[in-house]
Symmetry: C2
Subunit: 96 residues, 2 copies
Amino acid sequence: MSIRVVAKHNIKPEKRDEFIALMKQLVENTKKEDRGVINYGLYQDVKDPNVIAMLEEWESEEAIDEHLKKQHFLDLLPALRECMAGTSSFNNFKAV
Amino acid sequence: MSIRVVAKHNIKPEKRDEFIALMKQLVENTKKEDRGVINYGLYQDVKDPNVIAMLEEWESEEAIDEHLKKQHFLDLLPALRECMAGTSSFNNFKAV
């Protein structure tokens, strides 16, 4: 059964453009991964532009674990964290 | 551009089965609506079964507004709210 990930972040307004540029780079790199990713897209709340989410679908939890260990992802993390304000939320969902 | 909705709820553990049954009824009713719904599915967090989300895709914000006024939705709301614990979160997302 595929897993749907919702990774939601609150972004510092002055860092929003930088965050979006970095996340687009992450999307491009992730789509090149050799296995497991079904959908991986960047989204912005229609009411609050500082709420930005990655909405993802993966073949399995193992594929997500592999993704989170990828060097291209780890390399971007410090710069992404610099753009974030407050806490992010991460949920891995399965269909009911 | 389509709109992706993430509606995430924390559920009282003793009310979880009831909530899921009601939400499945909501899914069935919503899929019968005459316009606007692209995807509308019920999901559960893989780590915390008391976190349940509807992951949705709609043709437009107008279609979502119409859905939220539908009698079948309004009729279910009080019973759904009885099952919820704490605050829910609702986000309408557009692709970046």
